[in-house]
Symmetry: C2
Subunit: 226 residues, 2 copies
Amino acid sequence: MKIAVLGTGMVGQAIAGKLAELGHTVTIGTRDVQNTLANDQPNFYGNPPFRVWQEQHPQVQLATFAEAAAQGEWIVNATNGEGTLAALHAAGADNLAGKVLIDIANPLDFSHGMPPTLSVCNTDSLAEQIQRTFPAAKVVKTLNTMNANIMVNPNSLAGGEHTVFVSGDDSEAKDHVCDLLRSFGWRDIIDLGDIRTARGPEMLLPIWLSLMNALQSPLISLRVVR
Amino acid sequence: MKIAVLGTGMVGQAIAGKLAELGHTVTIGTRDVQNTLANDQPNFYGNPPFRVWQEQHPQVQLATFAEAAAQGEWIVNATNGEGTLAALHAAGADNLAGKVLIDIANPLDFSHGMPPTLSVCNTDSLAEQIQRTFPAAKVVKTLNTMNANIMVNPNSLAGGEHTVFVSGDDSEAKDHVCDLLRSFGWRDIIDLGDIRTARGPEMLLPIWLSLMNALQSPLISLRVVR
């Protein structure tokens, strides 16, 4: 598949790298290609700048949001939740129409200080906002409930005995996304229902942050026992 | 211990029954004792009225919120989240002062229809509201993230291999609550931190409701894998 990954951060890198490893043709989308490549500073978490990552992954192309989205048969939203709608507008509604749009973002709000809260929740969600704004896209929410490394290597934690969720209005799109998740190694995939059910996984953020703090590790995930 | 359980619903019954079985002296608190005993209708879920339950548990006393709270060395809030603050005001701040107050409630809001949303979340929680309103009580949030039967019989599901959370500002109170949870059979207990961390478990409600719907069972719980 030709897949566009929007976002150059840790999540975008992890997803793009895994997709390329699995043989997909991947283009990463960014707001400003020159700016992204010119940045030579480690990020907030001390990770090397994007340019270093790209030198290690020469098969992954870097392009504008619009160029990447135009090339992609599927789109992955791995931008910051704050910037998601602007990034998707830059990608262009026509370039999203009819395509599976995998939304991995969390709508983090840092305006109340640390830890972040959510900019939307309870009676709405980022995934619903995306689906309403781009009604011709087939939005599927998934993978927003764990660390980027665990997203693409679920078997690296607890032998893979944990759960990933999918939410979306289009059943066929969800089936495709489940196949993709299985190709990452996921075995316990729960279809929560329509796009409104994305509120649940988005609202896991506060407990995830508390758990990371209590357990002093980001290598945590949830298993639904039943 | 002498323990007051505020609330006559399924959660109150399950907790009171378990505490009595473990040898504690339990008084259930309600707004109006005569009304509670006069009710002879099954509830919304088809369960028998409180009177039937009490006939099966004659060692558990029924009293007003204030009488129950006055007698209890510990207080369990098993009321509806909507009615929690009113119930605790009826119980009386003096009857709560200095005591462990175990908050099991979820702040459900049915005004937007089904499924319910939360009346408070993200930047506040019901547990924080209780702690602010009754600063002399030692509020510990726990057990709000699973079905009432699983709360008191964790080993009835997946061999007990799932997680319960505690949040609160008073470490000693949390230690006591952890001992109580262990006496119920809980083995995986995570202390999330201060009372603000109650936002996380309260915000699990939407995914819990989606999971119940997707899996067609309320017998579900979460295990934190790490």
